[in-house]
């Protein structure tokens, strides 16, 4: 695939925005705060404008929806990033509401279903009610939890200081356990006068079960039947962590399904807004813990955009090498684990782990840790790849991995049992995939060749010759095949990157732990192995980000879970979930 030479044109998103402003005079204005881009839409015109953006302007993929609490201006803002699946930059639009409870804004689920889970998250964490949302419940915290924790005036029990570094650590840093500082002696807080004896548990699951589709109680012969409610998880071997799905069954067939999450919600974003910009780097490792190298990159990209710095040339190549190695090991594990879910207990997974260990050896030697590499810095990477390890990477890429991927191919692709478990299962049409904001292999397996490395190239990906893997059937088998294809493409990129990598420094700026980030907003996104991983960062010029949001592909790719599972067998749910490729650290953050 070749891309045409870039033509000198104005930013297409800006042109689209102009059109939008002309179409809705008075209701759409340019966001003119310094460092900000995008368009401010009046709430009453939001749905109309969004429909116009989707249908007339062609921005059909709603990527990210997030809230920002501008407490000083007494405003709550919701920021939307929409993309064209044919490529190009984002059309950013925003809407604001006065910060007086109850805060109400129109829901965009009627335009893009992909807004579903994200709007629920904003309701949970910011307390913005989305009018017209079909199922607005808390998503990460439990029903009944007091407060909306991401609001700037909400303080957790272990609250120490507004921002890091905390003053209590130095120079008079006598160690105190955080528990000993709090009123209740633990990481909990209750309202004054709260009486736990009089408190009665309202069933937190009631709303959840009520949200499932009601099932007809008579079958075709007039015999009354009943549905079965099955809870899979949060402790279930098939859910790849602490994910839970509530399934309504008719016999063995899925009638309705709701994902339940938040069992690993460890407050990444709240902590991220206390951290300094650099301190967030190791925290991003713990998002998608299979791919810390790509997580680092997404975050660096956003901050480098804000700082306006270039990345050292050699570091750009190192980033590509690490990200692609990471993609290969992620896909290998995914395939191995998918086999586990299907009952091929452990053989493919054990084979996959061998290759993964060899790749992790490289990460350990270069990044310092097998999984939590903490390798990127703003402007480059922390250290160069040692010579002997460069040789090892060469050895793996040129002599081993390609043969091993072929071996996987031989082992599984034509296996009849495997094929009959996967073919035609969990179908997702291309239209539905776009509507529900799928990204990554999920979207590409449904026939949309949308890969950010091509559609909106970052780093030095525009210098490599590779194909965007795409498959057209949208079923589980294609989701498996696309991973095999992608690993082969990754190897192609790796081979080129290893041949082209220039010598030179790996940092373009002087390393410092106090990054100076000018005020403004930025959205950095990369094609992580799981889909579009985006970081939305707002800086107000201080050492800490004002808003730090992660657009997690694992989370948003679950929007289509119900759609793909309905009318399938319950046993297939396990495989469908396995092929989405979720990682709980990123899903719940």
């Amino acid at each position: 695939m070749t891309t045409p030479a870039p033509v000198e044109i104005q930013d297409p998103a800006a042109i689209a925005g102009q059109k939008l402003a002309e179409k809705f005079p008075g209701a759409v204005t340019a966001d003119e705060r310094p460092g900000y881009t995008g368009w401010m839409i009046a709430p009453e015109k939001l749905i109309e404008a969004a429909t116009y953006i989707r249908d007339q302007l062609g921005y059909d993929l709603l990527s990210s929806v997030t809230g920002v609490d501008y407490i000083a201006e007494e405003k709550m803002e919701v920021v939307y990033h929409a993309y064209k699946t044919t490529g190009g930059p984002a059309l950013v639009f925003k809407t604001q509401a006065a910060r007086v409870d109850p805060i109400r804004l129109p829901s965009l689920t009627c335009v893009w279903e992909g807004a579903d889970l994200q709007e629920r998250e904003i309701w949970d964490l910011y307390g913005i009610r989305f009018e017209g949302h079909p199922d607005l419940r808390r998503i990460l915290m439990w029903e009944g939890f007091e407060g909306h924790p991401m609001r700037k005036d909400w303080k957790e029990a272990f609250y120490d200081d507004e921002v890091k570094p905390y003053k209590s650590r130095w120079p008079e840093g006598r160690h105190v356990f955080a528990e000993n500082r709090t009123a209740f002696g633990d990481n909990v807080s209750f309202a004054a006068g709260f009486d736990p004896e009089k408190w009665t548990a309202t069933d937190p699951e009631e709303a959840l079960y009520a949200s499932l589709k009601k099932y007809k109680t008579e079958d075709k012969d007039g015999i009354p039947t009943d549905h079965i409610l099955v809870n899979l998880g949060p402790q279930h071997p098939s859910t790849h962590g602490v994910f839970r799905a509530v399934v309504m069954l008719d016999g063995e067939n899925v009638v309705s399904l709701k994902p339940v999450m938040g069992y690993l919600h460890r407050n990444h974003e709240k902590i991220g807004e206390r951290n300094t910009f650099l301190q967030n780097m190791p925290y991003t490792d713990r998002l998608d813990y299979f791919n810390s190298m790509s997580n680092n990159w997404g975050y660096s990209l956003a901050i480098e955009k804000l700082m306006g710095i270039q990345v050292a040339e050699r570091a750009e190549y190192i980033r590509v090498i690490m990200a692609e190695l990471s993609r290969i090991q992620n896909h290998l594990i995914l395939i191995g684990m998918l086999m586990n879910d299907l009952g091929a207990y452990f053989t493919p997974a054990l084979y996959a782990f061998e290759e993964r260990e060899l790749i992790l050896d490289i990460f350990e030697a270069v990044g310092g840790s097998r999984m939590m590499c903490n390798y990127h810095r703003f402007g480059g990477v922390v250290r160069d790849i040692p010579e002997e390890w460069m040789k090892k990477i060469h050895g793996l890429v040129f002599d081993r991995l390609s043969a091993k991927i072929d071996e996987f191919d031989r082992l599984l692709t034509e296996n009849e049992l495997f094929v009959s478990r996967l073919k035609g299962i969990g179908y997702l049409s291309p239209e539905d995939a776009i509507r529900t904001s799928m990204t990554g292999p999920m979207l590409r397996a449904s026939g949309i060749p949308y890969d950010i490395r091509r559609a909106d190239p970052y780093g030095v990906y525009d210098r490599f010759d590779f194909n965007v893997a795409v498959r057209y059937n949208g079923d589980l088998y294609d989701r498996y095949l696309i991973r095999i294809d992608e690993m082969r493409e990754s190897l192609k990129i790796l081979e080129q990157a290893l041949k082209q990598i220039p010598a030179g420094p790996v940092m373009s700026v002087k390393p410092t732990y106090q990054a100076k980030v000018p005020a403004g907003e930025a959205y950095g996104r990369i094609e992580s192995p799981k889909g579009e991983l985006g970081f939305y960062v707002v800086s107000n010029g201080k050492p800490n980000p004002y808003r730090y949001h992660v657009r997690a592909p694992s989370f948003i790719n679950l929007t289509s879970l119900e759609m793909t599972c309905v009318n399938q067998k319950i046993a297939d749910f396990v495989a469908i979930l396995g092929a989405v490729d979720i990682v709980l650290g990123e899903l719940d953050r």
Partner: protein
């Protein structure tokens, strides 16, 4: 453990029989049996769980210690590897799983998060250490501990088992059959049933703060 190690001192077994016969104490053989077939519960929470799987997989192969049988059911497992961040929302589930495990049962807290909250300790949904609720036998520090570090922790657990005696272990004492921990509740925040009176008193105090003079006197 070879039969030689199993032999109790004081009894001379002829050399040619040493690989066949061992004279040992009941404690030793009991502990030997338990420590050599510790079945962990298939139960992962976060990042550490991946390292736990890696420890099970090709390179580190926990099967060498008789620990390869990961049981999805708590009833069949002997050791709970709390691998990852324990959140408030997940805690009732973990405690319930622990209660469902049959004695003898052990808890290994893997990684900084499970031991003391880890880097996410300050978070509003994070429990600062599973040992606030469950009795932890071995702590494995690290973020995440490498599989080798985890295996080392499990060897430490085996050492601990070796020192136990039938006469003193809690599951042969009079009393309830197994340790049960009251299951925490998800109210406006996490409520530990054991601390209800304390919470009530504190919340009442917050509602009617004592005069500052009294406080300084106290």
């Amino acid at each position: 453990m070879t039969p030689n190690e199993l032999n109790s001192p004081g009894y001379d077994v002829p050399e040619e029989l040493q690989n066949v016969v061992a004279i040992t104490t009941l404690d030793k053989i009991y502990n030997f049996g338990r420590r050599s077939s510790l079945w962990p519960m298939m139960f992962g929470l976060a990042c550490c769980a991946i390292e736990m799987i890696a420890a099970q997989a090709s390179r580190y192969d926990l099967a060498r210690f008789g620990m390869e049988v990961m049981r999805p059911s708590p009833r069949q497992s002997d050791v709970m590897l709390v691998a990852g961040t324990v959140t408030k929302k997940m805690l009732p589930v973990i405690v319930r799983l622990y209660n469902q495990m049959a004695e003898p049962k052990y808890v290994v807290s893997m990684g900084a998060c499970a031991s003391g909250g880890g880097p996410f300790k300050e978070g509003y949904n994070v429990v600062a250490g599973i040992d606030k609720y469950l009795p932890v036998d071995v702590y494995v520090p690290g973020c995440p501990p490498t599989p080798q570090a985890l295996v080392y922790g499990l060897i430490k657990l085996q050492e601990k088992i070796d020192k136990q005696s039938l006469k003193t272990v809690r599951w042969y004492q009079k009393g309830p059959d197994s340790v049960e921990v009251p299951i925490p509740m998800l109210g406006p925040d996490l409520i530990d049933p054991r601390r209800i009176p304390e919470i009530k008193a504190k919340a009442a105090e917050l509602a009617n703060p004592p005069a500052p003079v009294e406080e300084s006197a106290a």
